[in-house]
Assembly symmetry: none
Homo-oligomer: 221 residues x 4
């Protein structure tokens, strides 16, 4: 039931390093890729390290030369994703000249990332045992926190009315993940349409929000 082994695609960007280095990097990537597929298919709980390495030409012991534990490889997947998307999202929002750009830039970037990185998204967000999973690594929490800070900055700059930034962040995230999920279930993942839907919702909604500051404790999200 776990995915079969698939011959690794040689990566052009590995050419320059020494052979040793190269193999090491390749093995690491192999394991990550295998883990992504296995987690996506079986879910974190049900997946075993053996499932992962079985999808690989490597031996089980080799796994531990690259990752200290099953959890570490899971976190690596998450962080890799979060690390790649966080700066993009932040940049998008930083350069926003209007609330519209802020919102639509966030959603567009997110949905495009999800569509192009479906395996990662699924590995993190999906789970078999009848359960769906969401993430909580340091990287991701930091990403949430950053969004909230960006919202507060936008309020300070007068770009946004003084709404509850904590709740607004939550609403943005809830909508982003839930719509992403729905989008991926459709025949054709129309990132534009999805982003437009979400943007319209928030553009219309934000104006109507009660103008009160957040009641959440400011420091820890």
């Amino acid at each position: 039931m776990p995915p079969e082994y698939i011959e690794p695609i040689p990566r052009a960007d590995l050419h320059l390093k020494g052979k040793r280095e190269q193999t090491k990097a390749q093995n690491r990537e192999m394991i990550l890729e295998a883990a992504r597929r296995v987690f996506a298919e079986l879910g974190y709980g049900a997946a075993t390290v053996r499932d992962i390495i079985r999808t690989t030409p490597l031996a089980s012991g080799t796994f531990y030369n690259y990752f200290r534990s099953k959890e570490e490889v899971f976190q690596a997947i998450q962080d890799e994703s979060a690390l790649r998307i966080r700066p993009r999202l932040h940049e998008e929002r930083a350069k926003a000249q209007s609330i519209e750009e802020f919102i639509s830039g966030t959603f567009r970037t997110f949905f495009e990332f999800v569509a192009n990185d479906e395996a990662n998204f699924r590995a993190i967000h999906r789970n078999t045992d009848t359960l769906r999973v969401r993430m909580d690594t340091a990287e991701i929490i930091a990403g949430f926190q950053e969004l909230r800070e960006d919202l507060e900055t936008a309020i300070a700059k007068g770009l946004l009315p003084p709404v509850d930034a904590d709740f607004l962040m939550a609403a943005l995230i809830g909508v982003a993940f839930e719509l992403a999920e729905r989008m991926l279930r459709r025949e054709f993942a129309d990132t534009n349409a999805t982003a437009e839907f979400a943007t319209a919702l928030f553009m219309g909604g934000i104006r109507a929000l009660p103008n009160v500051p957040s009641l959440a404790p400011p420091a820890n999200a």
Copy 2:
């Protein structure tokens, strides 16, 4: 680390049955309660049947007189919750005379339920192993589907503009769960404020949504 055993509260509503019956009902409830606490604390993946039964004065074998597996007890918790809230939500939406009543009724009912039923909500929605969990039992999927159908009915009645009901459902659910989570983290769970926030967001937002029917396959949500 799993919660300690806590003396069960004697229930007045058990007076009428025979002692045998009463003990059975109590034991079942004991196990459910223990499971709720253990899932909330450790998450579904990390929790073991032993953790659950240890939180109880019962013997390990007794668990299996009531539930066939960890999964079954988890589903029982989910279904119990969903079974209790689904009719309330549906009723609220059915009697709505306006879009405002539809949206605000839904959120208000949901946040009140969550606040009063925190243990259940946490057992289902939270998860430690670095993961958070969301629900996918038949009952809950049915609840989602029902919301979508209620939205479609509202569109047909002209209560709502002809928006993508599948996406709107997803947005409502994403916001509901994510705000609930945030609400519970605050010192005082202000269900009114939370419902107002969510309602305002959608009341403003819905008007702005693109007027197109859902692109999702209509039958299976």
Copy 3:
């Protein structure tokens, strides 16, 4: 997979006792009958007490009013069989006027018993887990021992030549059980033909046996 409950046949011979007594005897017989069928189908190892009482209208606790353990009920089945057949076999051999009567009486009686009491025979002799089982209760060992003594008596009386009685007993028993098994597998259990085969074999064979006394320790079989 274990046999279904079958309404008990009321036994005429229970009429005379008091109602209490009667029920007790009936329950005992019910359990024995159920055990016979369950052991025959699943084998002693795989059969559980629950399997047995499930085949009965009784409750699990009731089992222990009649038998102290699973083993005890198994022994009761064995002893019941052995107790019923032993005197018949012994009598048959005691009244034998010739070696022919001795041998043929033994086999005929045994095969008829087996054919009429197939459930008992199977309960004792068969076993699923891929295994076949033979019996070793006190009653049965006593039966083997009795056969050996009867052989020795026959030798003393000059009915039989002075052969190794221990080995002859073993040969008789081996042939008896193995042929019984084969006989029951055939479409029609022809006890006469089977007895004739076995008798002919031994009638011819005994004459040819080396005339030496048994080398086995005489006391314990």
Copy 4:
């Protein structure tokens, strides 16, 4: 109560393989040997995988690197025995020029095998829980079938009179196992005497058997 761990005898025939291979082969043999002893002492039903592994310096999980279950190791023991003796028996019978050679060759080979391989024989044939066990693996059934076919061939060649080959096979097997059992209980296992006894019995007996073909279904034994 299960046997204690006994230091393994270093095998000369393992010299050539690599250390890894060697250890693997040794461990497998260790487990088999332990299983033989445990089955012989406790019987198949009562023996547990834990009993087997405890008799070994290995860890419990290691058992499952070699055998999938208790049943599998039991079958391995049986098949190992059957695999070793079957060709010898068949060969013995094939080269028989007379009925005497056929019968005596069979018994002599069998009793010698049993005496030299007592642990295996006991592991398979003995059983405590009040039960004795006989074997039914594919290998062994095939061995029985082969005996029957050899008998039929002998009949066709005129070596044997046209008797019921199925019953004759059963009688040979019953006598072989039952005498083997008795033989092992004696102070000194005299395979010659035992084989002579059995041979004499059948040599005399076969001549007396009714001359009819088998009534058993020919295909499956």
